[in-house]
């Protein structure tokens, strides 16, 4: 017995020695010089954008508002699909609900901008019971089941007499603001919402929950075997995405002023989100932002091409999923080891090959 214990002791000593040796040879870091610079630059850019209404033209401010909303949509769809492994073609449900609840809350007599913020909270609350059913579905069943949810919610919203069916209604109370300041407020609200949601997701992905999320992204089976609870994490992502997309819908309504259920509950919104995330890079924090910017440029230049523009979007989405499934950012990250907004870790192994750094 004594011998056995001693051997055990030796073994564990040996192990811990080796672990120490290993620990000395490996350096785990999050921030690199490049990523520090990138975050500071991003912060400066956002501060600069906040002052844009002082000198930029009305049309430019309006377009930038649209860009911020696209970034929110792409980031939220990416959070769901890229990290949670939940591909949905029904996120227009929350986009439409965000707009609908804004109309409803403003109708109670509240300030329209307060209604925008409250509406997103209501959408998140509504998404929770939906998640209880939907998260039990897998893969394609979840994807198209969400589309059924969107279709059902669209029909139910049409039942509300206030909306007047497909004719729709305008957010009339916006008229209490003069048009110039209205535009500026919506712009700043969109900028603030986008920044807030990006920071929120960034912090979430870097937290303990975030490690769980990224573990699930890489392999759900392996993650559950380590004690990660995929259900809990997926529910969190589902509600967060509903909140963000609801907010985007509310902001879109504030900027477009009129609400026609058909446009807001259109499956086209899902097509846009899928395009942005696939092109930018699914499961990459920076990828969704890049994808939204590219989509914004493509829309600005080609949306006059009408139907061919949509054909092009679909074809590009197919091409990316077949030939470049990690998207443009995934490719850049692989080639140049870029990681500007670090949500993972850098693992450097000193002994074996000091030049080689392993990027997680």
């Amino acid at each position: 017995m004594n011998t056995a214990e001693k051997t055990h002791q030796d073994n564990s000593d040996n192990l811990s020695n080796r672990a120490n040796k290993y620990a000395n040879s490996v350096k785990v870091t999050r921030w690199t010089a490049a990523s520090k610079r990138a975050v500071i630059l991003a912060a400066l850019l956002i501060i600069a954008l906040a002052f844009a209404p002082l000198f930029a033209s009305v049309g430019f401010i309006d377009r930038l508002t649209a860009l911020f909303i696209y970034i929110i949509l792409a980031t939220m769809w990416n959070a769901l699909a890229g990290y949670g492994g939940l591909v949905s073609v029904g996120q227009q449900a929350f986009f439409g609900l965000g707009a609908y609840f804004t109309i409803r809350i403003a109708h109670l007599g509240l300030d329209p901008f307060v209604a925008v913020a409250l509406s997103a909270v209501v959408v998140a609350a509504v998404s929770y019971p939906i998640s209880l059913i939907m998260l039990r579905l897998r893969g394609g069943e979840f994807a198209i089941g969400m589309w059924v949810i969107a279709a059902l919610i669209h029909l139910l919203v049409n039942l509300d007499g206030l909306i007047q069916g497909e004719t729709g209604i305008s957010l009339i109370s916006l008229n209490s603001y003069p048009s110039q300041s209205r535009l500026t407020i919506i712009y700043l609200l969109a900028l603030f919402s986008m920044t807030g949601l990006l920071v929120m997701l960034f912090i979430l992905l870097r937290s303990r929950q975030g490690s769980a999320i990224q573990a699930i992204r890489d392999s759900e089976e392996a993650a559950s075997s380590l004690g990660v609870e995929p259900e809990k994490v997926k529910r969190l992502l589902f509600v967060l995405a509903a909140f963000g997309i609801g907010l985007a819908g509310a902001l879109w309504l504030a900027s477009a002023t009129s609400f026609q259920p058909k446009t807001y509950f259109s499956v086209q919104w899902s097509a846009y989100m899928i395009f942005m995330v696939l092109v930018g890079g699914i499961g990459k924090f920076e990828g969704a932002i890049l994808g939204a910017i590219l989509f914004f440029l493509v829309e600005t230049w080609f949306s006059t091409a009408g139907v061919w523009y949509l054909v092009g979007l679909g074809a590009i989405a197919i091409a990316f999923s077949l030939f470049l499934p990690k998207g443009i950012w995934g490719e850049l990250e692989r080639r140049f080891n870029w990681q500007f907004l670090p949500v993972g870790y850098h693992v450097e192994i000193k002994h074996s090959d000091p030049n080689k750094s392993n990027n997680k």
Binding site: A81, G85, V87, V89, I133, R136, L137, R138, G139, G140, E141, A143, I144, G145, W147, V148, A151, L152, L155, L156, N158, L159, V267, S270, A271, I274, L278, V307, W308, L310, V311, L313, G314, A315, A317, I318, S321, L322, P325
Partner: protein
């Protein structure tokens, strides 16, 4: 009341027919084809184009459209699904969704915004009906659609169970690698399965364009109906598809009688009710008791 039930069963036959291809592809290839609805509309346009430009009766053009759709199915498997299925279960959702967007917008570009129907090309059949009770009439086309759904489901079932090819497809569906080990060409089996699925889509495209109107963007709602039928009927069961179609049509009929806009809502609601029931019943005491009772009977 009796009339409503009979009409709902006939409508259910139509839903079963359009769900056939989706359910078959899902049970064999484990892929939910989001381009299902758009492919259905594509085949409807093919029938319409042959009838409109060449005055070919839609029933004769079945012999042209079915092979065309089967070839499209083979190409779809060979060039799109084969590659995307290897990238995990999420990728086929994205590629077939992209395909749906491309297809429906191309159809819109080519055929324009007008709604089309094949009813003018089938003569009197489109409005003829049989009187089955003193005050109950059933449309001939609806009856033919129900009968074709039943015979299509029966022949698929027979093909899968009785023929060598059917067994090979089932083996591939079960485990492609092992099927390969025992000499089955898994790639060929999948391509044939995809071709069959698209062949059934051609038949349902004819049904859709005869019983109503369609346009380039009609695919979305049809996809949702087909999907709901597949889930209600229970996946992997071809006869479940028929049952699912009838349940969906019944729920829509009940919905419509409650509220003028309740037709579609009724369908979506029954879908979620059955989904919920299935999810929560799976391990409940009642389900186990039911299983015991039915197990005892067998």
């Amino acid at each position: 009341m009796t009339n409503q039930i009979i009409q709902a069963i006939l409508l259910g036959g139509y839903y079963a027919l359009i769900a056939c291809g989706l359910s078959f592809m899902f049970s064999i290839m484990k892929i939910i084809n989001l381009a299902h609805g758009s492919l259905l509309v594509l085949s409807s346009y093919l029938f319409w184009w042959l009838a409109d430009s060449y005055a070919i009766s839609p029933f004769y053009s079945l012999s042209i459209v079915i092979p065309i759709m089967m070839m499209i199915g083979w190409a779809l498997q060979e060039f799109l699904l084969q590659k995307s299925a290897r990238g995990g279960e999420l990728l086929p959702i994205l590629t077939t969704f992209g395909l749906a967007i491309v297809l429906e917008n191309l159809l819109f570009e080519y055929f324009g915004a007008d709604t089309r129907s094949l009813a003018p090309y089938i003569g009197d059949l489109s409005w003829e009906s049989w009187q089955i009770l003193t005050d109950i009439y059933v449309g001939k086309t609806s009856v033919y659609i129900l009968l074709s759904a039943i015979s299509l489901l029966a022949s698929l079932q027979l093909f899968m169970q009785k023929t060598a090819m059917g067994r090979q497809i089932r083996a591939t569906a079960h485990d492609p690698d092992t099927a390969g080990l025992i000499g089955i060409n898994a790639r060929k089996a999948s391509a044939i399965a995809a071709a069959i699925a698209l062949g059934t889509i051609a038949i349902s495209g004819l049904a859709m364009s005869i019983r109503g109107v369609f346009d380039a963007y009609s695919g979305g709602p049809q996809l949702l109906f087909a999907f709901e039928v597949t889930i209600i009927g229970g996946m992997g069961s071809l006869w479940g598809v028929l049952l699912g179609g009838i349940v969906l049509a019944m729920a829509q009929t009940i919905g419509a009688s409650i509220h003028p806009q309740g037709f579609l809502i009724g369908g979506h609601v029954i879908f979620f009710v059955i989904l919920l029931a299935r999810l929560y019943m799976a391990n409940s005491v009642i389900a186990i008791r039911i299983k015991k009772v039915f197990g005892g009977l067998r």
